[in-house]
């Protein structure tokens, strides 16, 4: 039994999602190797080699891999899978982009958003916006999983796996990278943050979102999230969206401000350890799952919260 993990990395660093995916792999059992694919990945490979329980780190470098192009990841990974029984990828936008392409090339099913490993062939994953948990048993010779990393703890460090490079493959002949527009932020990454402050439609404008949600997040050392309504309305970038079709988070504290709590939003945050909600509508569905609810206009509550936090720190 051997498991291959495709490392989750960005801006030159290995993301903690990789450590969490290693924990999922450990529960499947067998040898664990990590594939670090991209451009200029030496430092990332060094970090991956330090994760406890990892046998080997493979690196592959090309421009197409550096841009995350799915065709390049598939042509790299599919031949490597001859030596593995399972492929695990974190269920990020990039993981979701590449894993199904690899699965189909291997003629196997993908098990999406795995939240628990029951046995080496049986897994639990949410369906219907998390309103049901489905346990499935795979009959395929190889398993391809995307892992909902918020459901797993991070694997410890302390390993010293050997690093070797592999052929990056033919790249992505039919696809050309044009440009990207990334949200620059010094805040913690949304998917792995300990505290998330999220804003909803009630904020009413991008200016209000920036002047209310972001300073509060900074005071709490938090990442910023948003409801779909706030993103659709252009108050916040797409990368902030928490929910069924956006990011799924499970921080120690999720503070929802001006978010009513549609099923689709709850799907992305209901596994948070503590949920707090500020909303002027006492009937907002978010209060049905909030540990702490404050029924008040955010325009009153947030400035008061800023002062109270200053006093407590």
């Amino acid at each position: 039994m051997a498991v291959l993990i495709i490392a989750d990395h960005g801006e030159g660093v290995l993301r903690d999602a990789t450590h969490k995916t290693v924990t999922a792999a450990t529960q499947i059992g067998g040898e664990i190797d990590i594939l670090v694919a991209g451009k200029g990945v030496d430092v990332i490979a060094d970090s991956a080699a330090k994760i406890s329980g990892v046998r080997a780190v493979l690196t592959a470098e090309s421009d197409a891999l550096g841009k995350g192009l799915a065709e390049a990841f598939a042509s790299l990974t599919v031949p490597l899978m001859a030596g593995y029984d399972a492929l695990l990828v974190s269920a990020t936008a990039q993981g979701k982009n590449i894993a199904p392409r690899i699965a189909a090339k291997l003629d196997v099913a993908q098990i999406s958003d795995v939240i628990a490993v029951v046995t080496a062939d049986t897994f639990v994953h949410p369906i219907y916006a998390g309103n049901a948990l489905e346990t499935v048993q795979s009959s395929d010779p190889k398993k391809v999983l995307t892992v909902r990393t918020s459901a797993f703890d991070s694997a410890a460090e302390g390993g010293s796996a050997k690093i070797s490079s592999v052929d990056p493959g033919p790249g992505a002949p039919g696809t050309k990278f044009v440009s990207d527009a990334m949200v620059k932020s010094d805040r913690p990454e949304l998917a792995g943050a300990k505290i998330v402050v999220s804003g909803g439609r009630a904020l009413g404008s991008a200016e209000e979102f920036q002047s209310v949600i972001e300073p509060l997040a900074d005071k709490l050392g938090a990442a910023v999230g948003a409801s779909r309504a706030a993103v659709d309305a252009g108050y916040a970038p797409n990368d902030y969206q928490v929910g069924q079709t956006g990011k799924v988070v499970a921080p120690d504290l999720y503070l929802a401000i001006g978010i009513s709590g549609a099923i689709q939003h709850l799907a992305g945050m209901k596994d948070s350890k503590i949920i707090a909600a500020i909303n002027k509508d006492p009937d907002a569905p978010i209060f049905a799952i909030a540990d702490y609810g404050l029924v008040q206009d955010y325009k009153v509550a947030v400035p008061e919260m800023m002062k109270a936090l200053d006093a407590l720190k």
Partner: protein, 285 residues
């Protein structure tokens, strides 16, 4: 068939009412004379309505869909809307809507036609094919129809797998552009802006290709009554999915389906200071 088409017209009249888009249908095809010879295939799925909360069956075999309102998957609606807008711009000449599912999925195809799809194909099956089987069925149709582009939803809101589009691209060995928030078609290329981790990425794919769409791509129109009536007259072919000779066997056996752990409402606090004190007490500050 009589039952199916009757049902189809009923469904067309209960189109999603949550949007207040303009009735643009009557303006379509103004560019028809100049349209490029480009065919777009759009898969559409009949799923539990977006506003309905799924309930797990008491025998834990699945989700209870009896007497539940069913609608077109919202991402498929965005995909159809995009194909029709491209046709209105003159970059696309024909839009084919394909659904895989029970006979009632004809309703979903009629809805797609009311938005503007030219014709429909139902691959009828009472099995619930898994994403790999869906991709194989769609590949069989792509091989026959030879579209220049497949535009489809990034995920269906029932299984939430987010896989069929990427799998179809893999089986066809076509480029893929997932999670599109903007699509520009020019000649044999599509320039697609994608919603990725950390922001947006723009790539150019050589056609034929598979594009999967995200929420911000467009806001689907509210089909007009004349277009709903017109949709009833458009060609809709029904074929037995099994007749395509595709391996539809499920690779994943459903062991059990359960309710997620319930979360109870906690306490209400009086003001922000009390809330901040709760954070402090929980060791969060």
């Amino acid at each position: 068939m009589r039952w199916g088409s009757k049902n189809g017209s009923r469904a067309a009249l209960i189109l999603p009412k949550r949007r207040s888009g303009v009735m643009r249908g009557r303006n379509r095809k103004i560019n028809e004379g100049y349209a490029a010879a480009m065919k777009v295939l759009v898969p559409v799925k009949r799923v539990i309505d977006y506003n309905v909360k799924a309930r797990v069956k008491s025998d834990h075999t699945g989700v209870d869909l009896a007497n539940v309102k069913m609608s077109m998957n919202p991402f498929c609606e965005i995909a159809i809307e995009e194909a029709v807008r491209q046709q209105e711009k003159g970059t696309v000449s024909e839009v084919l809507a394909v659904s895989i599912g029970p006979i009632q999925a004809q309703d979903t195809i009629r809805t797609a036609m009311a938005i503007g799809a030219d014709r429909g194909l139902l691959l009828q099956t009472d099995a619930d094919p898994q994403p790999l089987a869906v991709a194989k069925l769609l590949k069989a149709i792509v091989d026959e129809e030879k579209p220049d582009l497949v535009i489809m939803g990034k995920q269906a809101i029932d299984g939430d797998n987010n896989a069929a589009g990427q799998m179809l691209a893999a089986l066809l060995d076509w480029p893929q552009a997932t999670f599109a928030s903007k699509i520009e078609i020019s000649g044999k290329t599509a320039t697609v802006t994608r919603e990725v981790d950390g922001g947006l990425q723009t790539i150019e794919v050589t056609l034929p290709a598979v594009i999967t769409v995200d929420l911000r791509l467009n806001e689907p129109r509210y089909a007009s009554l004349p277009n709903i009536m017109k949709a009833k007259k458009k060609p809709l072919e029904v074929r037995d999915a099994a007749s395509l000779g595709v391996d539809m066997a499920p690779r994943l056996k459903v062991v059990t389906v359960t309710e997620p752990p319930k979360r109870e409402a906690g306490v209400k606090v009086a003001d922000a200071a009390e809330l901040a004190a709760k954070f402090k007490a929980a060791g969060l500050l």
